[in-house]
């Protein structure tokens, strides 16, 4: 990475040092000045259409109003924000008023309330009385297919337009920032969303007869600055201000996408991407989010080790331990103490191609750590030599669920102990099944496919209180 250049600019009559190769929103953020914005997103191309990030910049004709997102930083430039320029404050307020003209203000029933950029901007730039009234305001004229008139004669838009298997669109909440359109076009590379029609009639839509369906389509709900696009799996489940967040790393895939885990009262409600420019930027695949879907169902809560200890004691033959891809470096180190055993790691799942967004395609998340520990990640070898072993211990490796056919060979090993989070086929297929914490509940270290060392933080779910992590169980089994 090249050293970022630093330039001096004048902001509100004060000289400040800011990064040189960026735009004004980012530069001002670097010195602690938040500029209200809606359409600007650091990982999307600039469209400059919300006009909320107004600043004044010196030019050949004196100080002129311009948008911060499209103005590059240049050394020695003079910038005035709303703090020093009433003109900027007025412009931001005016734009905000226009934004709210056709916005329904149904915040009490909106899933985005609490994390809505429009709400934040209102508190920051607007916070003034409404000048609207039923006859002159709130005349939404978007998609004619879903519009209707309410009891006061105001035009309303579609409130729950089913635009895809995972996403619901609320047309009248949309502020036409085009973030979702740009995401689908420039990041997902599949233009499924479009802004149709013009003027006050413009609205987000898919192509006729088609649905929004893409492995990354749930990202549009993260980047939607208002509650226009909402995730079906999270709609009306929890108010966002009641959620706590844990920063951790996704062990769904070896890229180790950085995530926020949103939970409340021991229940995980959703996974959100956590921006890391070097790993997953602001994106997260649907597959990585789906991990939480059944996280509280069918959990294996047995933490009685006496039977397992008995079996290990009685075993005279060779022991094979299979460490799953979601084992942390700490789990691996703890099991490595079983020096009587032979270690295998990974999964029978094939390695796929990286999609270039937020997946490396390798289902063995911590492959780098497994290999560092000298563990053979070729499970095929274990299948071939299955007859040699007397005892198989699988740790967070749900082989009979992921690939039942390939795992069939392992049935030759007479004794099997499974350490797993769920009461699944692997657990049922083993003589003894012991519950362990899911990687979402686990603390530890992983090394991703790019060689970055990343820390996991466990989410305190209700199940995490009942079972131990694999590393602790390893210690107890070892005595």
């Amino acid at each position: 990475m090249k050293e970022p250049s630093v330039v001096t600019i004048t902001v509100d009559n004060k000289e400040v040092q800011v990064p040189g190769d960026t735009n004004l929103i980012e530069a001002l953020k670097a010195v602690g000045l938040e500029t209200p914005h809606l359409c600007y997103h650091p990982d999307l191309p600039v469209s400059g259409n919300c006009r909320q990030c107004m600043v004044e910049v010196d030019g050949p004709r004196g100080m002129v109003l311009t948008i911060g997102c499209y103005t590059p930083v240049r050394p020695g430039m003079k910038v005035a924000t709303s703090a020093s320029s009433p003109k900027v404050a007025e412009a931001r307020k005016a734009v905000l008023e226009f934004l709210l003209v056709n916005h329904p203000l149904d915040c009490p029933i909106c899933d985005k309330a609490g994390e809505c950029l429009l709400q934040e901007n209102y508190m920051m730039a607007g916070a003034s009385d409404s000048r609207l009234s039923p006859e002159i305001g709130k005349q939404y004229h978007g998609n004619p297919e879903h519009s209707s008139s309410d009891s006061k004669g105001q035009h309303r838009g579609g409130k729950r337009v089913d635009i895809g298997p995972r996403i619901v669109l609320d047309e009248e909440r949309c502020i036409q920032c085009s973030r979702c359109v740009r995401f689908m076009r420039h990041v997902a590379g599949d233009e499924q969303l479009q802004l149709a029609s013009r003027g006050g009639h413009s609205h987000i839509t898919t192509f006729p007869g088609e649905k929004l369906d893409h492995p990354y389509d749930r990202c549009v709900t993260d980047i939607c600055p208002v509650g226009a696009l909402t995730d079906k799996s999270f709609r009306f489940r929890k108010r966002v201000w009641a959620l706590s967040r844990i920063p951790t790393v996704s062990m769904d895939d070896s890229l180790g996408a950085n995530i926020w885990v949103d939970y409340a009262d021991g229940i995980i409600y959703r996974i959100m991407p956590r921006c890391n420019p070097e790993v997953n930027k602001s994106w997260l695949s649907n597959a990585a989010r789906d991990v939480v879907q059944n996280i509280h169902e069918n959990r294996l809560l047995n933490n009685d080790l006496s039977a397992a200890l008995q079996i290990i004691k009685e075993t005279k033959g060779k022991i094979a331990i299979v460490l799953g891809g979601s084992c942390t470096a700490e789990d691996i180190a703890a099991f490595k103490k079983f020096n009587i055993a032979e270690f295998f790691g990974g999964s029978f799942l094939p390695v796929q191609k990286a999609d270039g967004i937020a997946r490396s395609g390798d289902p063995v998340a911590n492959r780098a750590c497994l290999e560092k520990a000298g563990i053979n990640t070729n499970l095929g070898e274990l299948s071939k030599r299955a007859g040699e072993f007397e005892l198989l211990i699988t740790v967070a490796a749900d082989l009979w669920d992921e690939t039942p056919e390939e795992a069939g060979d392992l049935n030759k090993i007479p004794k099997r102990i499974a350490l797993t989070s769920f009461n699944n086929n692997t657990a049922k297929n083993s003589a003894i099944a012991i519950g362990i914490r899911h990687w979402l509940e686990n603390f530890g270290t992983m090394i991703n496919s790019k060689g970055l060392e990343q820390k996991l933080q466990g989410t305190p779910t209700k199940e995490a209180a009942l079972v131990d992590s694999a590393a602790i169980i390893a210690g107890r089994l070892h005595g």
Binding site: G48, N49, R51, E97, D106, E135, Q176, R198, G200, S202
Partner: protein, 373 residues
Amino acid sequence: MKWSFVPRGSKPVYITVNADEGEPGTFKDHFLMREDPHRLIEGLIIAGWALGARNAYIYVRGEFLPAIEALTEAIREAYKAKLLGKNIGGTKYSLDIAVHRGAGAYVCGEETALINSLEGQKGQPRLKPPFPAVNGVWNMPTCVNNVETIMALPWILENGPEEYQKLGTPKAGGTKVFCVSGDVKKRGVYEARLGIPLMELLESEEYCGGIVGNLKGCIPGGSSTQVLTAEECKKANMDYESLASMGTMFGSGAIMPFNDTHSVVEMLNTLGKFYSHESCGQCTPCREGTGYVQRIISCIANGKGKDGDIELLDSLCTGFTGTTVCPLAAALGAPVQSYIQKFRSEFEDAILKNPEHATPRLSENYRPQGWWE
């Protein structure tokens, strides 16, 4: 001036004629193209040669069918006479002209929206910079000029730029094609020198032949310019500086005088409908604001106005200036503010027609009625 920004040599240069004449009251380009398409082609060849362009586009508003037919016919004739295509008239210079029919969006008269539309994208203005002269059609340097500009070229080349300069004022030389509509005896397209007094244009027999009824005011340069009152009309000269000093603009040269039978409120209502309909919907102030302003004007016009609406309109239109991508919202803001300023009493009278004008739309205790009540 505009041509000097176009970089030479490195990249192919395009020349584009803006014939998307959508400004209410403007019809000169349509007339010029229909009546004399050959001069436009001649001008394009001159401009193309000067800029080193290999291709030229004429972006014509889709509704101008007679003009499009005349143009296509003229271009066909020019190709036949080897005045277009490869090696024009035996020289090394080649130029191809394509006529593109727009779909009738006002905003496509804005040069970057025109370029987007020409490329097959949605006709929405682009962020500037880069300007089209650097990065225009197909991301190549592009010169976008008006029909009138291009059509003036053959005459200038024939008679010399000095002769052309002599026709107008010292600062802005040449002639201008005016299109006069509204309450005059002879409406139509007139070419006159720049700096001609407005009243001479309206009243002389050579041009419009006088005003019908009592002159109340005049829109000097197309609907998006600030209106002039009757007194101001008497002082106005039709050139850039004179009109700018009166707080209005030269605009497209569409002069619309109106007499005292017309209600200014109704006129503004029509304008508001036009601009809110033509907003491209890209940026917020215009998408939401033009409709909002139009609804207030229509309330006033329909006898539902309230006290304070005039101030509300004025402050909303202030919010248009400088906050948008293109000047479309400001093109509504400018007339609204000038109509209010110059004909305020008419708006006040219209509001007084509402018997409940004094009760505010929003009472102090107003709460939107919702599911929780």
